[in-house]
C-alpha cells in the first residue's frame, strides 16, 4: 500500500515542478494532506477496492483544475499510443445491433456490480454522447456521434479510404488518452472494461453504413 502512495506523491511533485512555479509550498502540503484524506476516507466494497485510488501518471496529472504542462500531456499521450492493442486478424467490426445494446447499458465496475468481467459491463456511451437519432435520452459530456461514419465519408468499411478513420476510432475507444491526455472517456480497451469483440460491435454501431447512426 505504501509504494503506490509514494509513487503518487512523487508524480504529483513532478507535475508541480513541470507545471511551473505557481504552486506555493503550502499548496504542496495541502496536496499531501488531500492524498492522505483520500486514502483514509474510503474502504473496500464488493469489487471496488481501495487500490482504485492509486493513480497512474495520467490520472495524477489530470487531477487539478489546471491542465498538465504540454510535456506531461505529450508523455501521457505517447504512453497511451504505445499501449494500444489492435484487433487480432484486423477484426475491427462486429454487429451494430450488439453495439447499440452496449451503448445503452450504463452498467459495470461499481461496487453494486457482482463481477468485473467484460461480459458484465456496458459501454455507457449514451450517458455522454448522442448516437442514434431514435434515442432522445443522451448526455452531452462528449460530442455527438450521430452520423459518425457518414460525416467522415465512410461508405464501405473495407475500402482503403476508410482505413485511417477505422484505426483512429479503434484507438479512441481502446484508449482515449491517445488523443487527449485528460480525456473524460474511460479507456475501454486499455483497462479491460470491454473485450475486443465488444469494441468491434461499437465500431460497427459508429461506422457501419447500415447502422442507424449512419442510415437514419
Amino acid at each position: 500500500m505504501n509504494l503506490p502512495i509514494r509513487t503518487a506523491i512523487a508524480i504529483a511533485a513532478v507535475v508541480a515542478i513541470v507545471a511551473g512555479c505557481a504552486t506555493s509550498p503550502s499548496s504542496q502540503d495541502l496536496d499531501r494532506e488531500a492524498q492522505a484524506a483520500m486514502k483514509a476516507s474510503f474502504r473496500d466494497q464488493g469489487i471496488a477496492k481501495v487500490d482504485r485510488l492509486n493513480q497512474d501518471l495520467g490520472q495524477a496529472a489530470c487531477s487539478s483544475d489546471k491542465p498538465p504542462s504540454d510535456a506531461v500531456a505529450e508523455r501521457i499521450m505517447a504512453e497511451a499510443r504505445a499501449s494500444v492493442e489492435w484487433p487480432a486478424g484486423g477484426q475491427y467490426f462486429g454487429d451494430w445491433r450488439e453495439g447499440e445494446k452496449l451503448a445503452q447499458s450504463g452498467r459495470g465496475m461499481t461496487w453494486t456490480d457482482p463481477s468485473a468481467a467484460t461480459s458484465a459491463n456496458g459501454g455507457n456511451c449514451y450517458n455522454c454522447h448522442q448516437i442514434s437519432k431514435a434515442e432522445i435520452s443522451y448526455g452531452t459530456i462528449g460530442p455527438s456521434l450521430y452520423n459518425y461514419g457518414k460525416l467522415r465519408g465512410v461508405s464501405d468499411l473495407a475500402a482503403p479510404s476508410s482505413q485511417a478513420v477505422v484505426e483512429y476510432t479503434w484507438m479512441k475507444i481502446y484508449n482515449g488518452k491517445t488523443v487527449n491526455a485528460c480525456s473524460n472517456m474511460p479507456r475501454f480497451g486499455h483497462v479491460g472494461l470491454l473485450d475486443p469483440q465488444q469494441m468491434s460491435h461499437l465500431m460497427s454501431l459508429l461506422l457501419d453504413p447500415k447502422s442507424p447512426v449512419n442510415s437514419q
Partner: protein, 266 residues
C-alpha cells in the same frame, strides 16, 4: 371490446405523430418536473424529522432540542446554510449529518460509531436522514453562507477542491468529469457545475432531496456516496474527511445560492 382496441390503435398512431413534432425532450422533462413540485414526498420525511428532534430517545431518554448545529444550542433556522463548519467541542469541521451524530451521542447516548457504520436506510440512519430533511427545510429560502474564518474551515475547502478533481478508478473519473463544466447533462439529466456558484438550488443547495427513481430520501452523505459509486471509486466511509471536505468545497462555492432543500430529484 373489439371496437375499443381498434379505435385505440388509430388514436395512438395520430397522437404519437403529433407529439414527435411537438415539444422538445427538454421541454417535456421540464413539464414533468413542474408537475411533481406540488406534493414532494420529502414532506413526509420533514414531518418525521421534526417529531424525532422533539422526542425523548436513546439510552439517555433525551430530545435533541439542545443540539448545537453551529448557531447555538437549539437554534435550527439558518444552521443548514452554514454547514459544514468548524466546531470547537469536537475540534473538527462537521457537516449536518456528522454533527447530528455528535448530538445523538452527547445528548441521547447513542453510539456514534455504530450509527456511522449502519447502512443508509436502516436503523438510526433513517432517523438521521429525516432529521437532516427537517433541519434543511427550516432554512428553505435562505442563502448559503458557509463560514471560512477558522483555519480548519479554509483547509477543509482546499482539501475538498483536491478531492473534487481527484481522478481514479477503472473509468478515470473525478467529480469534475461530470460537474466541472457548464450546461452538460448525463442522459437527460442536467449536471450542475459545482466548481463555481451554481445558482439557485441547482446542485449543492438542493440536497437533501427526494429521489423519484427509488422513492427514497437522500441526504448529502448518500448523494456523495452514490456519486462515488457511479465514479467507480471504492466506498466512501460515512462522515469521512473527504466527504466533509467536498461539502465545504461545494458549500463555499454555493455562497449566495438560495437553499431549495429538501428538493425533489430524478
Amino acid at each position: 371490446m373489439k371496437t375499443f382496441v381498434v379505435g385505440m390503435a388509430a388514436v395512438l398512431g395520430a397522437t404519437g405523430l403529433a407529439q414527435a413534432q411537438g415539444k422538445s425532450a427538454a421541454e417535456g422533462i421540464a413539464e414533468y418536473r413542474k408537475m411533481l413540485e406540488d406534493g414532494n414526498p420529502a414532506d413526509l420525511f420533514e414531518a418525521k424529522g421534526e417529531a424525532l428532534w422533539k422526542t425523548r430517545r436513546g439510552p439517555k431518554n433525551a430530545t435533541l432540542e439542545q443540539c448545537d448545529l453551529g448557531k447555538g444550542p437549539g437554534v435550527v433556522k439558518g444552521a443548514f446554510v452554514e454547514l459544514p463548519r468548524y466546531f470547537a467541542d469536537t475540534k473538527k469541521v462537521q457537516d449536518l449529518e456528522t454533527r447530528l451524530v455528535t448530538c445523538m451521542e452527547a445528548l441521547q447516548g447513542f453510539d456514534g460509531a455504530e450509527i456511522a457504520k449502519t447502512p443508509f436506510g436502516r436503523g438510526e440512519q433513517v432517523a438521521l436522514t429525516a432529521l437532516a430533511t427537517w433541519i434543511a427545510a427550516e432554512s428553505r429560502g435562505l442563502r448559503f453562507n458557509l463560514p471560512q474564518g477558522h483555519a480548519a474551515e479554509k483547509k477543509s475547502y482546499e482539501i475538498g477542491k483536491r478531492v473534487f478533481f481527484y481522478r481514479g478508478g477503472p473509468y478515470d473519473f473525478s467529480c469534475a468529469s461530470c460537474h466541472g463544466e457548464e450546461g452538460k447533462r448525463i442522459r437527460l439529466q442536467d449536471l450542475p457545475m459545482l466548481t463555481k456558484n451554481p445558482g439557485d438550488g441547482v446542485g449543492f443547495a438542493a440536497w437533501p432531496a427526494y429521489r423519484v427513481s427509488n422513492g427514497e430520501m437522500w441526504s448529502m452523505q448518500l448523494r456523495l456516496n452514490d456519486c462515488f459509486r457511479q465514479q467507480r471509486m471504492p466506498y466512501p466511509i460515512f462522515g469521512s474527511e473527504a466527504t466533509i471536505a467536498l461539502g465545504s468545497f461545494m458549500g463555499v462555492n454555493a455562497k449566495g445560492a438560495e437553499s431549495i432543500a429538501p428538493a425533489i430529484k430524478r
